[in-house]
Each structure stands twice: as structure tokens, then as C-alpha cells.
């Protein structure tokens, strides 16, 4: 490591001559820093599971794989195809229209809806899913009520437990991603571009379709891609609906057929699909940078009156009702009904496990993100930059894939360690890492590093080189500079990062389910178990805790942006 460090760091000597005293100071930092390699280490952590999973594809195909190909693979692909298509078009339609109306039009309640429409982000999709099933299924309260009024024949009532049902639930859960990004685009360029189109002889409708929509395309695609990443990564929703996709198939192959190889091979297919999506997304993101993003000084909206205004208000409240209010209300009712029975020692244990895991993961992930951001600041070279890009790719990896991809090397390492211990010291160590919190935390860190990196990195961007130099000129150095200059600037970013990771880990289902130490149940695991038994009311109590935690970052975000 050391030798490599010297050769990789020719800049150190350069700066001494080029940048004089401060350059010299900076270069002494460099030679003494071991964490120059941290970004590469974290990039490795992301590459290992990807490599593991992909290489398994070329492993000898066992009978189980053969069986999977013959029986379920076609179904998985068809299911995934329809899910992706449905969620993409649904979130685009709902997200873009709501974004346009709240950004450019004026109607009763617009101000309220513009932030309230983000609230569904607080509910994990699998929670919306089981509430929808519980409410609208054959024995649910809605159909029961309808039967008492209209007689027993409800053949016309759509079957909730269907492909359409999954798609609608995911649209309601994921449309805020499209809404959020597109609304930003419309706020900065929507009204302006519409006026430009009008001054060139187009009416408003033409202006929207010919101009505002094409101009916002990068943001729309970006939002839809986020929604699709969530869709492909989703495990909870599809398992509630018994709708087989790759994530559930991975779980079944591993825990049902006990074939880690088959699970890994399924994971490799899912990775390919995810990567195709990512390439598309990157293409559009590149274009997004060029589009101007100046907020016009005065946003004057198109005032709507009469039935049009009420139609929009109705549309927005309908969305909010089904995506947020109804699930929350139903959760509340269920939770209250089982509260006295279920709020016991065990519930507190789930809660404690969830909180502990989330806190540890937030601590670990934010520390790594902070160190990585510092490394990038000290060594702003291409290699580091690439390493960080790879390190933050983990977010695109579905939890089920990561669970398999991390479990396999950990198991291998464990066997190796115990065999060494046996040979050298004649000690029976058993499994050291496998099935410990450590494995889970590494998996969480890999998946959520991007979530914590982006706020910390953007805070770091605000500490310019001249700020350091100014601080040095005023006699601050080392720890004093860190404490008095850097930390105050970074504080907000670190807090945001920690909050986001905390909530994400709390909601996380597949990694927790597949890699947790035996008996280490969390709220999410409890929800999985209760929903697989159809005990919606018992699943509601842990879900309430998740929703409350999920609301926290949304409120923070809204307060930051809408003020």
C-alpha cells in the first residue's frame, strides 16, 4: 500500500513548488494519509457482490436452475416486463400531470397539495400494498359493505390480487419521484417556456405538448427511472401480492430450495436489467446538465376558475387520498384494534432492533461517506472520481441481489477462516462473520452509500479551497480547522444524510430478511411475516412506526424547499 501510495501521488511534489507554502502544507497531509485508498476500497465492496453474482451465471448449472428455466423464468420475465411498463407509464402520467398543475396552474389548495403530494414517500410500498389488499380483497371491508348493500353478486368488482393491483399500488407509492423532479423542471422553465411559445404563435395546449413537455423530458425520464429502480428492487410489495418477480424468486430459491447458486443466477439476470435502466438514465442525466435551471424571479401561475379549478383540486385530493390518507387511516384503525394485544415486550424488541440497526447503519454509512468525500477533496483525480462513482452505484443494486452477492463471499471467507483456525491452532471457531450484524451493516452501507454521499458531498463542495486557505491564513490548522470551519459547514449535510439512511434502513426488507442473525427480527421482518399470513391488522402496528419514521425526512425536506 505504502509504495503504491508514493507512485500514485506525483502531485504531492508538484504542489510544493507550484502552490508554495500552503501547497507544501497540503502535501504533508497527503503523504501521511492512509485513507487515500478508501474510495477504492468502497468501490471494491460494491464490485465484489456484482462480480460474485455475475460470475455465478457461468457456474455449472444445476438441476434446480434447469428446473427454474423450464418452469418459472418465462413467467418472471413477463411479470417484470408488465410491471416495468405499467409503473413507468403510470408514474409518468400521474407524476407529470400533478407536477404541471401544481407548478404552473392556480387552483384551490395548490400550495397545500404541492408539498402534501410528496407524503406518500413516507409509506413503504409494501405497507400500501397490504393495506390495499386488506381493504379491497374479497373479505375486506369494502367488498363486504358492497355485498350487504348490493347483494352477493360482485362479479364486476376488479380482483385486487392481480397484476393491475400490484401496478396501481406501485404507481401510488412511486409517483412522487417523477412528481418531485418534474415539478422542479416546470417551476424553473414551465411558465417561461409557455410564454415564449405563446409569443411565437402557439396556444397554451400546443405550448405544453410542443415545448414544456419535451424540455422537461430529462427530468421526467430521471424520475421514472428512479421509480423503476425501486420497482425492480422491490421485494415486499410483490411478495404481499404473491406476484413473482426476480426478487421473490431469489428469496424462494435460497430459502425454499436452499440453492444459493440458483438465487445468485437469478440475481445476475436482474442485474442486467438494472444496468440497462441505468445506462438509459445516465444518457438523460447528461442532457439535464445543459438545460438552464434558472428560477424566474416571479412565478405567476395560470389562474383557473370554476369547474376546471375544482377538477384539479379533486384530482390532487383523490391522489392524496388513495396514496396517503386512506392507507394511514386504515393502518391507524388496525393498529388501534390490536394495540392492547400486540404492544408487548416483543414489539418493543422489534422496535429496538430496527432502531439499533438503523442507527448503526447511519453511523457507518455517513462516516464512510464523509471519509470518501474528504478523499475526493484531497485527491481530485480521475481514479478517485471513478472509484466514487462505482462506490455509489450500490444504490441501484436491488437488496435481494446484494444479500446474495455479499452472503456468498462472506460464507466463503468464514469457511476459510475457520479452516485456518482449525489447521493452525486446532480451534473450532464456527462461523465468525456469517449471520452477524457486521454482514448486514456492510450490505446496508454498500446499498445506501449513495444516499448519504450526495448531501455530504454537496455540503463539502461549499468548502472551497480558498476557505481552507483563509482559515490557514488566520492561523487555524488540522483539528481546529476541522472543528471550527469544516464541521459547522458540513453539519447540515451530515444530518440530512444520517436521517435518510436511518429511514431507508428501517424500511429495508430483503437484505434484513436474508442476512439477519437468527432470531433478530425487526419491524420490517415482522411485517413480512404477518402479511405472509394475511394478518393485516397485526402487520399494521409495526407499519405505523415505519410511517412515522418515514414522515420525518419528508417534513425536513418540505421545510427546506417550500419556505
Amino acid at each position: 500500500m505504502r509504495v503504491k501510495g508514493e507512485t500514485l501521488d506525483p502531485m504531492a511534489r508538484d504542489t510544493t513548488t507550484k502552490y508554495g507554502f500552503y501547497g507544501y502544507l497540503a502535501s504533508t497531509y497527503r503523504t501521511s494519509s492512509g485513507w487515500r485508498f478508501l474510495p477504492f476500497l468502497v468501490a471494491g465492496l460494491v464490485l465484489i457482490p456484482i462480480g460474485t453474482v455475475i460470475s455465478s451465471f457461468f457456474a455449472p448449472a444445476g438441476d434446480i436452475w434447469q428446473h427454474l428455466v423450464e418452469t418459472t423464468l418465462a413467467g418472471l420475465l413477463i411479470n417484470t416486463f408488465w410491471l416495468v411498463l405499467g409503473v413507468a407509464s403510470g408514474t409518468a402520467l400521474l407524476g407529470v400531470s400533478l407536477a404541471w398543475f401544481t407548478a404552473v396552474c392556480e387552483f384551490p389548495g395548490r400550495k397545500f397539495f404541492s408539498w402534501a403530494l410528496l407524503l406518500p414517500l413516507a409509506i413503504p410500498a409494501y405497507v400500501t400494498a397490504f393495506v390495499a389488499l386488506g381493504l379491497f380483497d374479497y373479505i375486506g371491508p369494502v367488498q363486504t359493505a358492497l355485498r350487504t348493500w348490493l347483494g352477493p353478486d360482485l362479479a364486476w368488482f376488479p380482483n385486487v390480487r392481480s397484476r393491475m393491483g400490484v401496478i396501481i399500488v406501485m404507481i401510488l407509492a412511486f409517483y412522487p419521484y417523477v412528481y418531485l423532479l418534474t415539478r422542479n423542471a416546470f417551476l424553473t422553465q414551465g411558465k417561461r417556456s409557455l410564454e415564449a411559445a405563446q409569443s411565437l404563435g402557439f396556444n397554451r395546449t400546443q405550448g405544453f405538448f410542443k415545448l414544456a413537455l419535451p424540455m422537461a423530458r430529462p427530468w421526467i425520464v430521471g424520475g421514472v427511472m428512479l421509480a423503476l429502480m425501486e420497482t425492480l428492487a422491490d421485494f415486499g410489495t410483490v411478495s404481499v401480492f404473491n406476484y413473482d418477480t426476480f426478487t421473490t424468486a431469489i428469496y424462494k430459491a435460497w430459502f425454499g430450495m436452499f440453492s444459493l447458486t440458483a438465487a445468485s443466477q437469478l440475481a445476475s439476470l436482474l442485474i442486467v436489467i438494472v444496468f440497462v435502466m441505468m445506462v438509459v438514465e445516465q444518457q438523460f442525466r447528461a442532457r439535464m446538465r445543459y438545460a438552464e435551471n434558472r428560477q424566474s424571479a416571479r412565478v405567476d401561475r395560470i389562474p383557473l376558475a370554476g369547474w376546471r379549478a375544482w377538477l384539479l383540486a379533486g384530482f390532487a385530493s383523490g391522489t392524496l387520498f388513495f396514496a396517503f390518507l386512506l392507507p394511514v387511516a386504515q393502518l391507524g384503525i388496525w393498529a388501534a384494534s390490536v394495540f392492547t394485544r400486540d404492544f408487548d415486550q416483543r414489539y418493543l424488541e422489534f422496535l429496538w432492533h430496527s432502531l439499533l440497526l438503523s442507527a448503526l447503519a447511519a453511523l457507518l454509512t455517513c462516516s464512510v461517506a464523509l471519509l470518501v468525500a474528504y478523499a475526493a477533496r484531497r485527491y481530485p483525480d480521475r481514479a478517485t472520481h471513478t472509484a466514487i462513482r462505482i462506490a455509489t452505484l450500490g444504490y441501484a443494486l436491488p437488496g435481494a441481489v446484494l444479500a446474495v452477492g455479499i452472503f456468498i463471499p462472506v460464507a466463503w471467507l468464514d469457511n476459510w477462516l475457520s479452516s485456518i483456525a482449525l489447521q493452525l491452532f486446532n480451534m473450532e471457531t464456527g462461523l465468525l462473520i456469517q449471520g452477524t450484524l457486521f454482514t448486514m451493516l456492510i450490505a446496508y452501507m454498500t446499498r445506501f452509500l449513495a444516499v448519504s454521499h450526495s448531501p455530504i458531498d454537496s455540503a463539502m463542495q461549499r468548502i472551497t479551497g480558498s476557505i481552507d486557505e483563509a482559515a490557514m491564513g488566520l492561523g487555524l490548522n488540522g483539528w481546529t480547522m476541522l472543528r471550527r470551519v469544516h464541521l459547522p459547514i458540513l453539519k447540515g449535510g451530515i444530518f440530512t444524510a444520517a436521517t435518510l439512511v436511518f429511514v431507508d434502513v428501517m424500511k429495508e426488507m430483503p437484505i434484513t430478511l436474508m442476512t439477519r442473525p437468527f432470531g433478530w427480527d425487526t419491524l420490517a421482518v415482522r411485517i413480512f411475516e404477518m402479511t405472509s399470513e394475511g394478518a393485516w391488522d397485526q402487520a399494521a402496528l409495526p407499519a405505523v412506526a415505519l410511517v412515522l419514521a418515514g414522515l420525518f425526512p419528508i417534513i425536513l425536506f418540505v421545510r427546506q424547499t417550500e419556505k
Binding site: 417561461r192 410564454e195 415564449a196 409569443s199 404563435g201 396556444n203 445543459y290 438545460a291
Partner: protein, 357 residues
Amino acid sequence: MNALLELRNIRHAYGRQVVVSGLSLTLRKGEIGCLLGSSGCGKTTVLRCIAGFEPIRTGEILLNGVTVSNDNICLPPEQRHIGMVFQDYALFPHLTVAANIGFGLHRMQKKERASRVAELLQTVGLADASSRYPHELSGGQQQRVALARALAPRPDLLLMDEPFSNLDVSLRERLSLEIRDILKSQNATAILVTHDQDEAFAIADEIGVMQHGEIQQWDTAYNLYHKPANRFVANFIGQGVFLPGKVLDSHHVEIELGVLKGDISHKCTTDCHLCREGYPVDVLIRPDDIVHDDASPVQAAVVHKAFRGADILYTLRLPGGSTALSLVPSHHNHAIGEKIGIRLAADHVVAFSQSEP
């Protein structure tokens, strides 16, 4: 010729906040008008009312003699045949320069459209940049694309909202002259809005100085400078100071530095008391009204000096204690505190009653 654009007593308000009140102006075909005022004076709102982006409360806006806005009608912008250059240009980032310029030509045949776009690219000097994207252009180039895009459909009237505010000063001056030439070559009628008087002087035929949503004076640059209608315009346009004086008769005013000859008031009315003998007035003295003359008996002390290349702008304390400005060729270099001889050299009088605000 008939008026192309006519604003009759228009009034606009956001809620209870009145932005434009009782504003009238007329623009003939081929003329370039300008609304000049500091930010918040309502000038951009007037432009947006003309464009049809804002409705008016009372009054009337006529284009080619047809009412397009009054208290209950507001013809949509796209039907007014007006071009607009936005302050931030509002270029379409996803389209090339040529596609931006051709955007408003959707009713033309393909061939016709291409030739019109080529013609405009030539006019604004961007023929080589036709396939580039807005973000690849400099500020000045983007500005010209915005102008070409607005001119492409041959609008009856072109509106320009602070068209140069995003450019640096040196570019502003050159481009404003260039754009005047382009507009004149296309025989375009235009109104621009700006807070920069140099820009207004460089481009416009007629300029309206605005304050609090009203036009204080609608006139040529020359008249605004030399015959300001009121104290606000006199202060706003150019530099100068007010010196107290006494009216001798309708053509003569006496101030500390001597007697000035000229019409006391160019807006003289029947009940005007300005021209009575002995009436106290404030007389506007521009820096070029006072010249340096070593032979003059009037001596003034240099309080402050600003070197401007060709001239030096001296701030002088007159014997009576009041302050005046004088623009002197820069080879007459005097130190602060030094006394120099000065003489009045004004051929007209701008005077306001001392009681007038």
C-alpha cells in the same frame, strides 16, 4: 402614418397593489420605443400587458387600430402577432440555434421556413452556429438568437424585456447599436424596457421615463436631457444639480453665476406663475453648462474630481456655498482645494418652481 400601438390610460394591479396607473403612449410603425425606469416602476408589467400575458383593469390597448385588451377582453398572446425577447432569453435548451429560430414558423412550408431561418442567421451574424445548442453559445450570441427567434415570424411589434441586462457592459454598448441596425433593417416596430439610460439612448427613437407606474415624460433622448418635464426626469436622466435662482422675465433667470437666457418653461400654461418677475425657482445646471475659463472672475474651489479619460468631472464649491458639477477637458488638471475660474455656458433654461416637489 397611423399608430401601430396605442395605450390609452391603462391600469394594472396585482390584487390591491397598483402597478400601472393611467398610462398612455403611442408608437408608429417602424419606431423603436423604450420604457426607462428603475426596478419596480412597473415597466416590465406594461410590456407584459401589451404582450397579453397580463390583463388590464381599465383602459385600452390597441394594435393596428384594433382593441386587444380592455377591462373585459384580453386577446391571448398567440393571437396578437407580437414577438418577445425575454430577459433571460428563454431559449429552448433542447433545440439547436436553427430550430430555435424556426420554432415560430410552424405555419410555413419547409423550404420557406429554411430560407427565412438562413436569412435571419445571416442578419444576426450566426450563420456558422446554426446547428449548435444554446448552452454552447456566449451570452451575446444567445441574445442574438433570442432576437432572431422573435423576429422570424415577422411580428407587427417586438417587445424586449431588459434585453441586455445579462451581458457585460462593454458588450452591451456594442450590441445595442448592432440591434438597432438589425431592427431598422427589418423595419421592425419595437418597445424595449430597461433601467440603463445609455442603452435607451443608443437604441430608442422615443423614450418614456417611468416612475410609480406612470410615464413621467415620453420624448426623444435629446428632449429628456435638455427639456425634462419635471424634477424627477431631470434627476433621473444625466447628471446635474439644482441651483436657486430668481425669474427676471419670461426669458431670463438670474442665478449666482449670472443670467441665463431661454424659455423659462416649455410647458407654459395660462395659469403659469413661473414667469412672473422675482419668482423663486430651482435651475437645473448640467456639468456641460459650466465651462472652465481662467479669465473668469467667478472662482470656485475643487471639492472632488473624477478622471474620465477625455474629461475630468469636477465637483465645485461655488462662492455662495452651493455645489455644482463641471465637465472639463482632462488636460486642465487641478488639485483638490485649488480655485479655478468658471463661466456659465448654457443656451437654455430648465427651471422648476421651488414649491414644486
